[in-house]
Symmetry: C2
């Protein structure tokens, strides 16, 4: 099912205008301002009216934030969630036993408020590391949770942001067994974004009835192809997770990988995941351009993944793109240090559709034409390293003055 072209992914699915994680049937989302941030909404909730089968992928950082541990604890026990609450501004990471207690108390209070089992509640935080949650403000937020109406899901989309400039969400429908299935998603970026989870939170939902084991396998596979293939600055955070909920409001029998329409379902999940991942890369801190790197012809998935991620993560490639400079030398250098076992003189590179390297050597190109192409919003780098079958695509962004400004001054 992992065809790489968006063409294929698009087949059979219909995009919902302004869709998000609350689009599938039975989900309600909202958000309020509780004073963690100056004025933007900073506390949100995502609720399913029935317990949803739940798969999750967590950060690989040795420091796992307290809320992540509590969410994992819930999912490990019930493998279902009915509600997730999220606060931005403070990550509740590196906060020791008190942080755990705060996250556990949050879970308990949400459980009381919504009259759902404690282990069907997930707790998520994002923001500054090392500060304690002001629990009075969190309690104030919990008291305001309203799951009677879904008109304010855009408040949820906003409430989870940190330095993100825009909300990030989408939803699609597909038809399975002649029922309309909806798949939605909302996420946040925007710095500390790197393969293997970064400060990014992704919430994907569906109203389909899905086998729990296959839901888990599918999420892991898709995260590896999407969220784990983006990079902004190479830093991997303490709080990241991607959660996929399936509440079974649609389809009487649960979907599993042997179902004839499983691939259609999997492609729809992948489309949403890919869309969210790309939107994170495009809104990377200080980004002015989306960079898409495709590496083909490798003899293993690992090789092409590594090369694609290395190119898209190279500070020198990123600054060259920011400057509109077709600097093929930095691309070739990144290829060469990503994998010292490649055949250097089998490599071709296309930049924005123009061939700039053939057989590992520079080829003449129309510089003014290429410079003009580099004004585009999306920069495509296509690398062919041989004739073998493996292919990978990674997304990232340019490195600008603005990235430095944002991160030099984040706390002040």
């Amino acid at each position: 099912m992992m065809e790489e072209t968006e063409q294929v992914i698009h087949n059979d699915l219909t995009i919902i205008n302004e869709g998000d994680a609350a689009s599938p049937e039975g989900y309600i989302a909202g958000g309020v301002h509780v004073g963690l941030r100056r004025s933007k909404k900073d506390f949100g909730w995502l609720y399913s009216s029935v317990p949803a089968n739940c798969a999750a992928v967590y950060t690989q950082n040795a420091y796992k934030a307290a809320p992540l541990q509590i969410t994992k604890d819930s999912i490990d026990v019930t493998q279902q969630l009915s509600a997730i609450v999220i606060n931005s501004a403070i990550a509740n990471a590196c906060t020791g036993e008190r942080g755990i207690q705060d996250a556990r108390l949050t879970r308990k209070l949400v459980s009381d408020k919504l009259q759902i089992p404690e282990y069907e509640v997930g707790v998520v935080s994002t923001g500054l590391i090392g500060e304690f949650l002001p629990m009075e403000k969190i309690k104030h937020g919990i008291n305001q949770i309203d799951v009677s109406t879904n008109v304010n899901s855009s408040d949820f989309n906003e409430s989870i942001l940190t330095t993100d400039l825009v909300t990030k969400h989408t939803a699609v429908t597909i038809s399975i067994e002649n029922e309309t299935i909806t798949i939605g998603g909302t996420c946040k970026g925007s710095g500390m974004i790197n393969p293997n989870m970064a400060t990014m939170l992704g919430f994907m939902t569906t109203d389909a009835n899905v086998d729990l084991e296959d839901l888990n396998l599918l999420l892991k596979e898709i995260v590896d192809e999407t969220f784990n293939m983006i990079t902004v600055d190479g830093d991997t955070s303490t709080n990241d997770m991607v959660i996929l909920m399936a509440n079974g409001k649609k389809l009487s029998n649960s979907l599993n990988k042997n179902h004839p329409e499983w691939n259609k379902f999997a492609n729809a999940i992948k489309y949403v995941s890919q869309y969210l991942a790309k939107s994170i890369a495009r809104d990377g801190e200080g980004a002015t351009k989306l960079v898409k790197v495709t590496v083909s012809g490798g003899d293993s998935k690992q090789t092409v993944n590594k090369i694609a991620k290395t190119i898209v993560g190279s500070s020198l490639v990123k600054t060259a793109i920011h400057g509109g400079d077709p600097n093929f030398g930095r691309i070739i250098t990144a290829i060469g240090y990503a994998d010292s076992t490649i055949s250097p003189y089998d490599v071709d590179v296309n930049l924005c559709g123009s061939k700039i390297v053939e057989n590992g050597m520079a080829v003449p190109y129309d510089a003014s034409k290429l410079k003009a192409k580099m004004e585009r919003d999306t920069i495509d780098i296509d690398v062919k390293i041989g004739e073998e079958p493996f292919l990978a695509t990674a997304f990232g962004c340019d490195l600008s003055y603005e990235y430095v400004r944002i991160n030099a001054l984040y706390r002040t």
Copy 2:
């Protein structure tokens, strides 16, 4: 011999004011302007009046520039060099067979000019990748090589620079068997600098008589502790090398590792290597501060090396330092993704001498006092990850607007 404190390294050695690779007896260096750069000197030479035993370490990039291949060819055949010529501005990398022919012709012409065997000549280039050398200009440079006088070694130090702002060189003397031995070095940085060699060239020289095998082992060991422990932007170049020459003008019997004063010699080489490596980090593109990260208490050299390099290479740590922000969360995050197997709550972090993390948690500190300390020219980050014996030190620099400006506009 690998004691980590500079205290120990300094023992027994005397620093030569304005010393460089031409300071030891029998070496002559110079440089001229041949028109590869607008006005700065761009072609240099380093000459030994007798063939010098030679050890070298090369880039690990899959793309190895033509001059590097020719130099390796020479050293592999004779294990000695009498002369090295270097041009800046053009790297002669990714230039295929023509690049190899140009580097080989350069070697031949230098051999003819100086009347030395062809395989005692090294050829080095640094600069833009993918352009051919203008051989007429190179020939013009070769014709001007003058090994009759050593008054112009500062021209050599300048001729090898690219975006470096300052020349980088030092020399020391030690006493071995009651003879005065001199060890000198000259190098260049300044972007594309990462562990495992980057666009950096290092030339170290000594007039001692040194056993070839032990010279090679020593260079490898010292490069791993010094040049391989610096990072500017994480990019590893096609042209890097470090060469260590020992011409035997001093000491009738060759020094080897069983000699009672070997450690004194090795420490002096390490001092020079460390000094050059630090000077590269301090002059990283756009750098305003030197960052020194020490990680102690690990159970293997690999672990402490990895963590130290990850911290010093993190864009988020680098921008925080640029902004004078004691952002401990980014340091702890970098530790956590460098090695997911550490015990997160055994970690202590000191920033500029102030404890900011104890047992993996934030501790209160005097923010205004710490901010003032962060105005310093050198930022020290000391991390203790446990009670085991391994220790590593890495050097880097902050990430500034200027880095982006330099690299967005390098070609134009």
